[in-house]
Point group: C2
Chain length 195, copies 2
């Protein structure tokens, strides 16, 4: 029996709104991938198993043999149990920070370029997040909806994304400038080490 993070997440997402595997795959690709990447070859088998376990059921079959899943009472109870009784794994894998430990192997100008790329890439991500926030706020104003539970949670996540990107850009900019300013010392240390 699979009890993976992905399975619990699928359950929780479907609890908010019945959805097909394809819909979930799209949701992951568009908005959830930054927190937990998942693609269809992982999603479809997981859904099949959850159905077998009685945590999901097919609530509707649409046009292109589409299967819409809905949670069962057991399914809801299971996500709640997961959230309440298990602690999240707080390790975060960050390849960029890992690479940082090897950056001294490059020349100072290459190290500066490394940070320039980071800054540019994260700036773009930040712009996207801010756009999403603006869209959400506009929609809330137009429809005048008080923030329901799910939308509120999603907006907290978005807020974290924005804070994260801003902080990251600030840190990377300072790092870049420090390397650029101390380019000579950097290259000397490198020479000494690499010969």
């Amino acid at each position: 029996m699979r009890t993976s993070v992905l399975s619990r997440a699928l359950l929780g997402l479907i609890a908010a709104e019945p959805m097909s595997g394809y819909g979930l795959a799209r949701l992951f690709e568009r908005t959830l991938a930054r927190a937990w990447p998942a693609r269809h070859p992982q999603i479809y088998p997981a859904l099949a198993e959850l159905e077998q376990q009685g945590l999901l059921r097919v609530s509707e079959t649409g046009p292109r043999r589409r299967k819409t899943y809905a949670v069962t009472a057991n399914g809801v109870a299971e996500v709640q149990r997961w959230l309440r009784d298990t602690a999240p794994d707080r390790t975060v894998r960050n390849e960029t920070i890992l690479r940082l430990f090897m950056l001294w192997l490059l020349e100072s100008r290459e190290a500066v370029a490394f940070f320039d790329d980071e800054i540019e890439s994260h700036r773009q991500r930040l712009v996207g997040f801010e756009q999403t926030l603006a869209d959400d706020e506009r929609q809330r104003r137009e429809h005048g909806t008080a923030q329901g539970g799910i939308a509120f949670c999603a907006s907290l996540a978005l807020e974290w994304g924005i804070r994260y990107e801003r902080e990251y850009i600030e840190w990377a900019t300072q790092a870049r400038d420090r390397i650029a300013d101390g380019a000579k010392a950097w290259d000397n240390a490198r020479e000494r080490r690499l010969g």
Copy 2:
């Protein structure tokens, strides 16, 4: 042939200082695990393969059949190529943020508890990072060493860790308070959805 992130990282770390598999495993466990977790069953086979590829060589065999590895010229070139010619995968897996999307399934007091746990856990991590920073600074003052390339890179990573934890705690505290303040609205929205 393996060309994984881990393999390149091992190469880069050994380039800084010849090390045994056990030493690397310890280094990952103690300091690198927050950016890229890796344990000995992954490390030992990777080292064996890197040696076979001529990117590492056994530079010394110590007491308990310990093998110390050193990089070869090809090994150094390979890490440099990796750093220069490939872009880092910038996806970060964060189970806590994923769970956030399901948090509306819990009662407001449970959601508050969720954030309390986060705050406590990250506060402890922050204390650890700040301690490390203080130790590093003390050592630098005592030994008067100008920051060499590797130490400088490590300090940038530590700085990021500290910024990250501070920002995270601030965000989580605000989120916690907002949920606590709007507990009634939260529980109402939840009732409506779950029935």
